[in-house]
């Protein structure tokens, strides 16, 4: 059954009301701040891609509640294994916008986690991060730590073998790992109904004997609540956040080729940001002026960060560092070669 706390119009359900009462003002305001900031960051990234400032980009729009709500339930000591679309998770978890922009500018520095964070670089090959999360959870269990591991992935990932192997390991070894699937309806152009013969992602959990939660992925409160609950159990669980990407798969994709416009419109009416903002306004947590001011602050900061990233240039020597623990002598020769190749700016001459 789909867990729901906040209806698209911004009205709380009964379960939602009781959860809402348990939240502090800070938590409530944080969720709004993260939702709005992530949307702003994401829209700027799409624009910056069009302006040639960054490379091909995978937009988050439509999935903000799933990402913010889940990441907000995490602690700094938790292990996070994102896929490539998790800018909202990264931002909420405390990864700098500098790193996020660098990554999408083709800069390896953007992969480096901040000191003390177990935030793993985005995984590009589908579903391959799931077994890593299993192993990280295993290390938590063996060391008797208190954190958990969480892996983020899409509905398409459920077709890869790694998904099934990870769930099986997690269950057999009884590990504190959450498999967080954002079912956004499509794997690039392939709709979920052609991806999977089961109607939902959650029903796959029963094959592995683990807990499952299906939650309205556009409802930040329900997602936050579910992840908090699943996390506290310290058991493997599969969470399906039912959502939709309202944009294209990436900036290189044309979604109008494979999905009807009417469908997109239906989901725009279930916008995750609008409903939570309505709730906050109704509850008098803040007014529109305050939102506006907060937005301006975030926008200024984002633009400043982009300018800084643009100003810095990568060094070809860095191709060679960290490939091995120490650069072997034979590879140092290649490093020198690269450093002396002054025309590296172009493949031509």
């Amino acid at each position: 059954m789909l867990i729901n706390h906040l209806l698209p119009c911004g009205t709380l359900t009964d379960a939602g009301s009781s959860f809402w009462r348990t939240l502090s003002i800070n938590e409530k305001l944080d969720l709004l701040f993260f939702l709005r900031s992530v949307r702003m960051l994401d829209r700027r990234m799409v624009l910056w891609q069009r302006q040639g400032k960054i490379g091909t980009y995978a937009p988050v729009e439509g999935q903000e509640a799933a990402q913010v709500g889940s990441a907000y339930a995490l602690d700094k000591k938790d292990w996070v294994f994102p896929s490539y679309r998790e800018q909202g998770v990264a931002f909420t978890f405390g990864i700098s916008t500098t790193s996020i922009i660098q990554y999408w500018s083709g800069r390896i520095e953007g992969c480096k986690p901040p000191i003390g964070y177990r935030y793993v670089p985005p995984t590009v090959p589908i579903a391959t991060q799931l077994p890593h999360a299993v192993g990280a959870a295993w290390s938590i269990k063996k060391k008797k730590e208190t954190g958990i591991a969480i892996a983020y992935f899409g509905d398409g990932a459920t077709s890869e073998g790694d998904f099934h192997e990870a769930l099986n390991f997690a269950s057999i070894f009884d590990l504190p790992v959450l498999f967080f699937c954002q079912n956004n309806g499509y794997a690039i152009s392939v709709p979920f109904a052609e991806q999977s013969a089961t109607k939902t992602v959650v029903e796959k959990a029963s094959a592995y004997g683990i807990n499952a939660y299906q939650v309205d992925g556009n409802d930040v409160l329900a997602v936050y609540h579910v992840v908090k609950t699943a996390k506290s159990k310290r058991k493997p669980a599969l969470i399906e956040a039912v959502t939709y990407r309202t944009g294209a798969h990436t900036t290189a994709d044309d979604a109008s080729r494979y999905r009807p416009e009417g469908e997109v419109r239906i989901w725009l009416n279930r916008d995750p940001l609008y409903r939570y903002e309505q709730l906050c306004l109704k509850e008098g947590l803040l007014d529109e002026d305050q939102i506006e001011k907060q937005d301006q602050q975030v926008a200024k900061e984002l633009d400043r960060t982009m300018r800084e990233v643009e100003k810095s240039h990568p060094n070809p020597s860095s191709l060679f560092t960290h490939v091995y623990h120490q650069i072997p002598d034979w590879l140092k020769k290649q490093q020198e070669e690269a450093a002396n190749d002054v025309n590296h700016g172009s493949i031509h001459c």
């Binding site: 091909t56 590009v124 690039i188 392939v190 494979y258 990568p314 490939v323 290649q334 025309n343 590296h344």
Partner: protein, 324 residues
């Protein structure tokens, strides 16, 4: 006039038309026409029984394609990017490449696995690798790489006609850079042969895929210094056309091999070994390789520092010409 990606779509259209056992399988190849549009229009023309959008599972695609091939069908698979072939690696190296041997010729393994590959277009992480050497190292597979719209169609149809499984690598940097006349009918080019795309006397430049335009540019620059080059488009990485390579090396006495893949154990190493085994007496200088560095393919901000360049090729040739 077609681009390479259009000629690849056209080759598949022809293959589907002339042989009802041809099936296309891949991720996003149906309604979407492939992420690069290499199957554009084919789902509309041939329907979802023959142009099949599969679940997101490379092992599933290649493994089931082998079963289809054994059952008498001729699958043409699209792997979305060569980097994502790895979940199917086991199916390819343990089964596709061996089923003919293990069944002592009873079961067919005939299929074409298409995969765009290579760098230089600013693609995201893990979308630019050149891992051809893994497959050239696998007995039982053929590996073919086109470098122009015309050769792409002829070689792809040649690959479809082959009873052996063929990995058909499409240099994505060349997908749309050139348009040329491509016959709309069926034609094949030999998938065993290298071609000499430009003739010279002083040095042999060997490459494939996206390296060919770069070698032609290098050869043009060398001409200004009165150095002329044989530019050889290898086309077939497995088997290697020794005859063409040896003849050219004997004539020029100098060889530069160029590839995007890391230098160590790249296909260049195999070519250099064969040349030194067979024609070393004719060589006037050591064989040179211009290749990617021995590091993982970088995120795109540094890909031009990593990739072979015209300048690196010209420099390598100069070292050979002035070698004492």
């Amino acid at each position: 006039m077609l681009t390479m990606v259009q000629s690849i779509a056209d080759a598949q259209r022809v293959a589907l038309e002339i042989d009802k056992n041809v099936l296309l399988l891949g991720e996003d190849i149906g309604k979407n026409g492939g992420v690069f549009r290499a199957t554009e229009g084919l789902w509309e023309q041939f329907g979802s029984e023959r142009v099949i959008d599969t679940p997101l599972s490379e092992a599933g695609i290649v493994g089931s394609a082998l079963g289809l091939a054994m059952g008498g069908f001729k699958p043409i698979i699209e792997i979305q990017f060569l980097s994502f072939i790895t979940p199917a690696f086991e199916q390819i190296v343990s089964h596709v490449a061996r089923m003919r041997l293990r069944s002592q010729g009873v079961f067919s393994t005939s299929m074409v696995i298409r995969a765009p590959y290579g760098g230089g277009i600013g693609a995201p992480e893990l979308h630019s690798d050149s891992t051809e050497a893994y497959f050239v190292h696998t007995p039982g597979l053929r590996v073919v790489v086109p470098s122009s719209p015309y050769t792409a169609k002829g070689l792809l149809l040649g690959a479809v006609a082959s009873p052996d499984p063929v990995l058909f690598l499409e240099p994505l940097r060349l997908y749309r850079t050139q348009k040329e006349e491509v016959p709309s009918d069926y034609y094949t080019l030999s998938i065993d042969k290298a071609t000499v795309v430009s003739q010279g006397e002083d040095v042999t430049l060997i490459g494939w895929g996206a390296m060919i335009p770069l070698l032609l540019e290098a050869s043009r620059l060398l001409m200004e210094q009165d150095i002329t080059a044989d530019v050889i488009d290898l086309q077939s990485l497995s088997p290697i056309d020794e005859e063409t390579l040896f003849a050219s090396a004997k004539k020029t006495g100098r060889v530069v091999i160029v590839h995007e893949a890391p230098r160590t154990c790249g296909v260049g190493a195999e070519i250099a070994a064969r040349l030194s085994e067979e024609v070393i007496d004719s060589l006037e200088a050591p064989i040179k390789r211009v290749a990617g560095y021995d590091v993982p393919y970088p995120l795109f901000a540094l890909e031009h520092a990593y990739l072979p360049s015209v300048k690196k090729v010209v420099q390598a040739v100069m070292e050979l010409v002035y070698f004492q």
